[in-house]
Symmetry: C2
Subunit: 334 residues, 2 copies
């Protein structure tokens, strides 16, 4: 169906019908001038926003609409995770090319609702407008974190240990598979792993909550690659970060695909980004306690290096250290 | 300067430098994964979002960049006003054509900071991305309102009176002047009024606070024209709204320009929109008290009709009633 057959308000009704109604935290949801939200008095509000542009952040040949909806919220929910919070509410704005079909948007909202159900997040508002350019999705997520307990980038101290949740490089491997993987004989389960890493990244809210329980001195989510994220922590904490190449966890499917492609999977981990795992630093005195928390919750947690006095990010590989560049995905980079 | 000379992070630094730092409500502002905000325990969080697309919502020949920045926040702050709240925090995302000059964005942010200073609002985050299409601005504003005291669209009851703050039609008149006003001999002060109505609309936060103090049964901001806004209240409250044409307040400059253009200024008021005044209903028993509050604050407040049992919106003119259509600006309208 063409969107101009529905009109703006018909479209909003149709998309809103795909969404959940909210819990007691949603006092007023979609349908008034603004949404009204109830947060507990011991909580601070955490907010983050991301904009995705067709042709820049996603392509129709590398992601289906449902996964796109899922992923669009995942990138912002991940930022809430990196603060140690819970993602409670979202507003979504769409700039829609006039020839886009309503059914594509409905698929998108099925994906949105899938991730909202998983994370206990409610869509409470948004805006739909037309554009003469590419499809644009703008998402703002609101969450909550215990007062004064947000995980920042600025608390790493010399002597701390560097951690990473899950594995890195999977999203870049998945994108590579979509763009260049024709004819490569990877097992179907392994292909499926890589596509999932790229199209349906899992924001690490649970890991953030486990870290927020104590002992974490800094945290970032891996949106621009391990190297770029470590540089941000290094800069904001005023410390040097030293990571061991062999300790950086890579998924077996990523290793297998890299071998077939003749690529170094570590490059995907360091500079690929979009894994949406958490990376950061912990107090070494809390190491065993934190590891036990993660083991009990069944969440992968790996120590990959340590913090020293100084500046920058060093990768140790075969006993040799090299300075890692801060590069990652950079809009407007030359 | 070209944006690719600065890069993404250089651009963010440059734009952030135009903005204020925040007060004690901003625990963590721009520069981490997410912002952390402190709201009082007796307050609920109010949030709204708007997206503006060049060529659809604004044109370079009808608004300068500084006014565009001002206006982009005004439309969302106005939604907070219509809930009776205060606008406390904003996040702004930009999809930027790669050939746009950095100086234009800096001008935009000067306008953003101007309205933020006026309303005690702080920009706490955002995103900048590139696009192959038109310039897109996406704004989400967070505000606060006393628990359970938000002004909704759904509370109008038969017997209530319909109010409008300020005057209507000014923005449509201003846009008409910009597009078709060449050679029309309007006084310079009157031209200036019309341009201000269109380019620098004033969100009615103070009016919303005065209404929120008691006696208001429903409220909307006038973004799509008086007729469309009244239809929303009619629909959500399940009542009939009857407005008196002669009571709808029009600014002298709007009347003067309409006369020169041979147009009916009432049409601009009813169907033009973008005035960002508040419209709604009050309890008749509270009429004098509310009028006194507005008079003391120096805010224009006019009773323009009354609520009856039934449905729809009727305009009384010269003793004859006619049903007003719900039309206003409709994206994707055919």
């Amino acid at each position: 169906m063409r969107i101009d057959e529905l009109g703006e308000f018909g479209l909003i009704d149709r998309l809103a019908a795909r969404l959940g109604q909210g819990d007691e935290s949603v006092v007023v949801g979609i349908g008034d001038d603004a949404a009204v939200l109830q947060y507990a008095s011991n909580m601070q509000v955490v907010t983050t926003t991301d904009m995705l542009v067709e042709g820049v952040h996603f392509r129709r040949d590398t992601i289906d609409d449902r996964s796109l909806g899922y992923r669009s919220l995942a990138v912002s929910i991940s930022d809430i995770a990196a603060m140690g919070g819970r993602a409670k509410h979202a507003v979504i704005s769409l700039a829609i090319p006039v020839d886009l079909e309503v059914e594509r948007l409905e698929e998108l909202y099925i994906g949105v609702q899938e991730i909202c159900t998983e994370y206990g997040t409610y869509v409470v508002g948004g805006d739909v407008v037309k554009t003469t350019g590419p499809f644009v999705i703008s998402v703002t997520v609101l969450g909550e974190v215990e007062c004064g307990r947000a995980l920042l980038r600025s608390g790493a101290r010399p002597g701390d240990l560097i951690f990473l949740t899950g594995t890195a490089g999977g999203s870049a491997a998945g994108l590579d598979l979509l763009l260049h993987g024709q004819g490569i004989e990877l097992a179907i389960e392994q292909k499926s792993d890589l596509l999932r890493f790229h199209q349906r990244p899992a924001p690490q809210i649970l890991a953030g909550r486990l870290l927020q329980a104590g002992g974490c001195t800094s945290a970032n989510d891996v949106s621009d690659g391990v190297s770029s994220e470590l540089h941000e922590i290094s800069k904001q904490s005023g410390v040097k970060l030293v990571v061991e190449a062999e300790q950086i966890p890579l998924h077996d499917s990523v290793r297998a695909y890299a071998a077939l492609r003749g690529r170094d999977p570590l490059e995907w981990a360091l500079f690929g980004g979009e894994d949406y795992q958490l990376i950061g630093t912990i107090d070494p005195a809390m190491q065993e306690q934190i590891k036990a928390r993660f083991a009990e919750a069944g969440v992968e947690f790996t120590i990959i290096g340590q913090v020293e006095a100084g500046a920058g990010v060093t990768l140790m590989q075969d006993g040799v250290g090299r300075e890692l560049p801060a590069k990652g995905f950079n809009h407007f980079g030359s």
